[in-house]
Amino acid sequence: MATATDIKPLAKADGSLTRELREDTLFKRLFLSPTVVILLLLSIFPLLWSLGVSFTNFQRNAAQQAARTAGTLEPSGFLGLGFDLTLENYQRVLTDEHLHTTARNTLIYVFLGVTVQYGVGLGLAALINQDIFGKTFFRIVFILPMMITPVAAGYLGRMMFEKVPPSALSQFLSTIGRAIGNPSLNIPFFTDPGWAPITMVLIDSWQWIPFMFLLLLAGMQAIPDEIYEAARVDGANNWQQFWGITFPILLPISLTAILIRGLELFKLVDIVRVTTGGGPGIATEPLVMYVFRTALDFGNFGYAAAISYILLILVILFSTIFLAISRQIQRAQLGVE
């Protein structure tokens, strides 16, 4: 039992702080400030600056381009200041076919990637959540791809899908194709503008299905067995148990996992860079790649910043809409129950 005398006064009668409280105020600031300073300096400030640059005609000239190649890059004008303000970049955004294609590619990656990864991840989690032999082995093997550097995953994708040098898969497909007399099985994974984006999604999915798998498996394992037992008493079969119990309970974690993966897919670039380099044409080029090409290859910082803001707007739109939808879904779910 605390009595009145146990409670130390925080401030003395004359209003000055006690040593105790002064120390606390000091540590309170000390603990949080480094993070706040770093984020302001390296995240918020660049974000605003990027917005500023996107309204300028800031462009690196040919001499600077040469200097960069020689490794002595020094942008003229301090920090990109001293350039004319212009709306040109955003006017160009509206008519730039290249930008529209890359934006479409990015959106394909996000939506297709999330769908494939969630679908397969959910299936695999349900599979391993059963009482099967070798559970630990399968779980560890299933998460291996996630531990690989994306650049390496890109190269692995090429080793699997390319025809020169002949990959195991292309050999397999052409053998089957010959056997059934259907040469169209020999899919041009990287060279066909229709197939190439799908191949990118396949490679990224190979790497990130484990993420969905791990999260959903953890979610499934947290569901108490009694719920299933009650359902079984009522005569529900496995299929009904899965859609009636497992899936609804997993819904919140599913939505979060989808959001995280979706936001990560907006950043996809390394796999594309080492497989197709954006080609054929620009059929696989994502927005991020267009940003760094515009900045590094063409030195057009103003337009690169404008494109990067288009990317940011897409990301914000995606998250806002997604969060609104998931709130609706969850409310509907609560209403039903």
């Binding site: 606390d24 540590f27 309170k28 603990f31 949080l32 993070t35 770093i38 984020l39 995240s43 660049p46 974000l47 600056w49 990027s50 490794g71 890059l73 942008p75 920090l79 695999l124 391993i128 009482d131 099967i132 070798g134 399968f138 998460i143 291996l144 996630m146 531990m147 690989i148 550097t149 994306p150 650049v151 890109g154 190269y155 692995l156 994708g157 080793m159 699997m160 002949p166 195991a168 999260l215 953890a218 974690i253 996992a257 995280i260 950043k267 390394d270 860079r273 080492v274 991020v288 940003v291 760094f292 900045a295 910082f301 690169a304 910043a305 990067s308 803001y309 990317l311 990301v315 998250s319």
Partner: protein, 299 residues
């Protein structure tokens, strides 16, 4: 647990084994390619190592075998030693120092947000708002801030320096570190610190001697994720380094265009890049699950 028909069981194992094959085969291919001669890569796919394999075996039957060679590994650590070790060292420096920085700074902020009450009067923000603001930075596409980084680093001579890369990676890793550590400290009973304080320890002593040792699992999780992120990062290393601080992923991605694609050599190089993270990951895999679940469930 549940009862399944024989068909159901068989299908379950068939799918599980099939998927295990999908996961493992590319890794097996990467590993073996690093021991194949150029000819064994470029003619037909060769699957198994066999010391007696010769170049003129008929391709249909014996063509699936290759004669393992250590040439590419020797090349990597002999003739190419300087390049290989430089970029490997750059990767290690960038990953290790940014991990240490992000873990320490993130743990401090996480502790602060868990134990003190903040109020930013001008914004009207309290702890939860601040925490949300911090985690939202994690989802900012790095491409959005890359242009200012180039300009800023260019103006201050930080292009192609280790420090520049470490600074950038630290800021990327911080939001996750703060989020996980705050979560961790919230679950840690406050009584232990308070009794230490009653016994005369200062706030710092209570933090350093009681809280930090107890939060080792959280710190390991944060350290693991930060390390893997920095090790694998591509975009910023590409934009902010040319040579001296260039990390492995950019170096390997660059092998794409230099002398045609030398798969055997790329495979060996990729093995060098992937192996450390893979071993760390396997060793600490329970922390991976914990990090992912904590990151996803609480947001």
């Amino acid at each position: 647990m549940k009862k399944y028909s024989l068909v159901g069981r068989t299908a379950t194992y068939a799918i599980a084994i099939f998927w295990a094959f999908i996961c493992l085969f590319p890794l097996y291919w990467l590993f073996t390619t690093s021991f194949k001669s150029p000819l064994a890569v470029s003619r037909v796919p060769t699957y198994f190592p066999y010391l007696g394999a010769t170049e003129d075996m008929p391709p249909i039957i014996n063509g699936s075998f290759f004669k393992p060679t250590l040439d590419h590994w020797n090349f990597l650590f002999d003739e190419q030693q300087e390049q290989t070790l430089r970029h490997l060292r750059n990767s290690v420096i960038a990953a290790v120092f940014s991990t240490i920085a992000a873990t320490i700074i993130g743990a401090m902020a996480g502790y602060g947000l868990s134990r003190f009450r903040y109020y930013w009067a001008r914004l009207g923000w309290r702890n939860d708002n601040i925490a949300f603001w911090i985690i939202s930075q994690r989802f900012l596409p790095p491409a959005t801030i890359v242009v200012p980084f180039i300009l800023f680093y260019g103006a201050f001579g930080m292009i192609d320096t280790h420090f520049g890369l470490i600074l950038a990676y630290t800021s990327f890793n911080l939001p996750f570190a703060v989020w996980i550590m705050r979560d961790f400290f919230n679950a840690l009973p406050i009584d232990l610190e308070e009794s230490a304080r009653v016994d005369g320890a200062t706030r710092w002593q209570a933090f350093a001697r009681i809280v930090v040792p107890l939060s080792t699992p959280g710190l390991v999780t944060v350290g693991l994720f930060s390390f893997v992120f920095s090790w694998n990062e591509y975009l910023f290393s590409l934009m902010l380094t040319n040579f001296n601080a260039l990390t492995m992923p950019v170096y390997i991605a660059g092998q794409n265009n230099t002398r045609g694609v030398e798969w055997w050599y790329i495979a060996a190089l990729t093995m060098v890049m992937v192996a450390p993270v893979m071993f760390i990951g396997l060793f600490l895999q329970r922390y991976i699950t914990r990090g992912l679940v904590a990151g996803a469930l609480k947001s």
